[in-house]
Structure formats: structure tokens, C-alpha cells
Amino acid sequence: MNKRWEVRLIGTGGQGIVTVSIILANASVKEGNNVVQSQNYGPEVRGGYSTAYVIASNKSILYPKIDSPNVMMVMSDTSYKKYLPELAEDGMLIMNGHTEETLPDKVYFVPITDIAHDKVKRPITANIVSLGVIVGITGMVSEKTALEAMEAAVPSRALEINKKAFALGLEAGKAALENK
């Protein structure tokens, strides 16, 4: 990796995006990068917005916050326009859902929840689907390390279903990238 990744994941409490951020962070560590992961905490977050952050870089990371992310994923909102201004120049914005609009280059719509619902048949796996999507679109970590990190993070009884979710997400992510 020869790049600094600043990733921001936005969702609602309970969607598991913190888990996704930790998996991403662990995968990136496995690939030899310096990584910091953090999240907004708060009782207010219960049911409200929840945000998680990952920074990965081959240089040392001190200041742990993200000002302009180059990867953003938004789980519970479809009005992508309000997120664009916060995105870095070279950024990628991943939205959960469908749209008919013509989109700016950096914006990707992927029906993450629907995939979890309809294809994995387990709505709860939407976060792991989103992990696949991020890896598929950004390539910030390899499929292999992402999968390993995911496996280490989920309870063994839920492993198979999550593998499926990851694979479907990855596929959808790659497809979205190719469709650009």
C-alpha cells in the first residue's frame, strides 16, 4: 500500500459498522500498515447516528482523526449530496441503496441491505456485506486478509453465513466499480 486511507463509516447504532471498521483495521494491520480505528460513542448514538473511522498508512499515524475521508460509506441515508463536500478529492462515496440518478464519478450505490435481506437471507449480516463492498470497490486491503480478519471477528456459529455475506458484498462492490 502506498497510500493513506481515511475511511469513515456512517450508520445507525446496532448496524454493526464498528465491527466492520475493526475488521478493516485488523486486515490492514495484517498487511503491515500503521492503522488507527475509532468511533463516536455516546448514549445519544443509541438508535441515532453512529460513525466509525479507520486510518491506514505506511507512515506513522499520530493525529487520529479524519478531516477529509477518501472512503465514506453511508448505511442509513440515500441523499448522497450532503456527504460529497466532506469527501477528499480522490475520495469514494459508497451509498447503501438504489438510485436512478446519474451519479458523479466518485459515488457508488450498492443495495447492501437488500443483498443481506434477499440474498444472504439474514438482514443482520448487512455489515459484513458492506465490508465486502468496501473491499471490492476500494481494494484498500486484499480479499484474503479481509476474509481472515472477518473470520477472526465473528462467532464461529455464524461463520458460514458471514462468508456468504462477504462474498456477495465483494461481488457487488466489484460490479459497482466496473460499472463506472
Binding site: 494491520v29 460513542y41 487520529p64
Partner: protein
Amino acid sequence: MGEVKLLQGNEACVFGALAAGVRFFAGYPITPSTEIANIFARELPKIGGKFMQMEDEIASIGAVIGASCTGMKAITATSGPGFSLMQENIGFAAEAEIPCVIINVMRFGPSTGLPTHPSQADFMQSRWGTHGDHPVIVIAPYTAREAYRETGRAVNFSEKYRVPVIILMDEILGHLRERVEFKEEDIVKEVNRKGPEAGVPFFPYEHTDDWIPPFANFGSGYRCHITGLIHDRTGFPTNNPEIVDQVMRRMNGKIDKHIDEICRISTVDVEDAEIVIVAFGSVARSAAEVVRIMRSMGKKIGLIRPVTLWPFPDREIKKAAEGKKAIIVPEMNLGQMVREVIRTIEGETPVHPLNRIDGELITPRDIIDFIEEME
């Protein structure tokens, strides 16, 4: 060693403590320190150690001190409200000279404040929170790796100097996960309290050469008396002014006597700097970034980062400040450490506080703007 991990600041404290031989944790959950309790609850029974959830923070520090009386290394973790409640018993540990470690993961105060937001506003409290003159050591790590190592150092200091040691972190570091690669210098060597010497008459509060009396663990056959009343070298109460003077000066002075070992500061590019930032904890991460950025712009900026906050590194700060154009002290509070810097520097260099008091980390941008405006 050479081990690489994604470690949360809170988690790192736990493993540092375990490496230093801690086998007892008593605590009461509080944001943003709860992970520490959670992880101790999981880890301690695995190695035969014991985890207790007490009825409150007063009970927690009390149980920790009790466990320490038997020779078991003991620790607790809390945040502002709990830290305030622990003050009376921290004073007891200081007076009775019982080793113990308290981790305070600072959140925004006062009172309930903003429980999930960071702050550095317990800087003064960590030194002066309990009544009466008392010794204390306070250490502020700034990365997960340092949290590991410094918690180990804290445990060792508490044992060696028979003093409560406080680890002062902030919510950001407590909750931050980061890659840690453990190196040789991170190995925590266990230090154990000095015991009674065979053949020598034993006084539990002896004024020894190093000013640290030996400690006889409960059950080890010495049957000492331990009290929070002022006591003479035998451990029994006295109010003889001469003796009171001696014991108070020894007890408080033992830390100063070993200040060289206890104080640790870390510096970046201070030597030739014109402007020096003095910062600790997470703010020092932003400050280090500023040095990197501004040096690359050709500006002569340096950073002094006190790792040991108390005793305050007077000498080092004073020396580093000599001949500088300005000192900047950014803090996530209304200006606490800056008071110490001003006191220390005694007018030699202009000192500028930079404070954020909105629940957010001071950013490199904040500091750069401040410097540019100042110039």
C-alpha cells in the same frame, strides 16, 4: 516481542498491568474506562487472578488497597466522577504507603459532563484531589503502545515507592485502536516491593536510606499496624510535632528523591526550536503532527511531552524553555498544565495557553493557526 496487534488504549493498559504482575482488579464501570473492567474480568481468571465488581468506586479503591496489603498487585480503573469519589482512599494509600494503581480515563467534566467526550481537565485533580499534603505519581501515555508500557511502569513505581500511581488517559486514547508493534524496550520487567530484611529489626515505616520503608505483607509473619493516622516508624499513631515533621517530609519527599527515575519526558526537535509546544496525552499527538508539518515548511518548532505529569518536570521544562521565543501549551481544558509551565519558567519565556473546551480534540490545524496568528 515483535508481536504486532491492533490494540485499544484501554486494552493496552490491561495487558501492561498483567505483564507487571497485577493479579487483582476491583472496579465499578464507568464510561470511557469500562473496557478495562470488561477485559480484566475476562483475563484475570485465566491466570488465577481475581476480578471484583464492587458496589461503587470507594469500595473499589478500598478493595484494591486491601488486596495490596497482602502483597497482591492490584489496580482499578475509572473516570472523573469515580475518580472524585476515590479521593479519600487515594489519600489513605498515600499516607499508609500502600502500593496501588488507578487508571483515570478522562472524560469531559465537570460532573456527568459529556461522558463520551475527551478532556484533560483532571490534570490538577490527579495531583491535588485528596485533602492534605500527599505524594502521588501521575503518568500520561499518548499511544496504545505507551499505555501498555507506562501502565507496567506505573505498577512498578507503585511497588517500588509504595505510592498510589495514577495513569491519566483521555477518552480518545482509551477508545482508540491502533497498531502496536512491541519492541525490546516495551518488555515490562516485574518489580516487587522491598520486604523486611532478615536479621535487621523491622519497622514498617523506617526512614531508610532510600526513604522507602520495607513492606511486610499481611500474613507474612510481621503483624504490622497500618493506619491513616499520622504514625511514626513503628506504624503507630503519633502527634509529636518533631516526628510528624520527619515522617511527613520523608513520605512526601521520597518521590522527589527519585525524581530522575520517575520523571520521563519525550521531546521532538526541541534543541534548535524557536517555538516549543508543551503537550501531553492525545493533544501531544496533534502537536507532534504540527512539528512534522511545520518543520517541513521550514519552521523551527519543537515539542516537549511530559509523560510523567506529576511530579511535574520542572527542571526539564525550564531548561528546554531557555532562550525560546515562545512556549505554547495546548490542552483540552481551560488551562491547567499551563499554570505549572508558567510557574516553572518564572517569566523567562512568554507562555501561551491554547485551550479547547468543547469536547473535541485539539487539531493540528488549531495549533498551526494559533502559531501563525501569534507570529
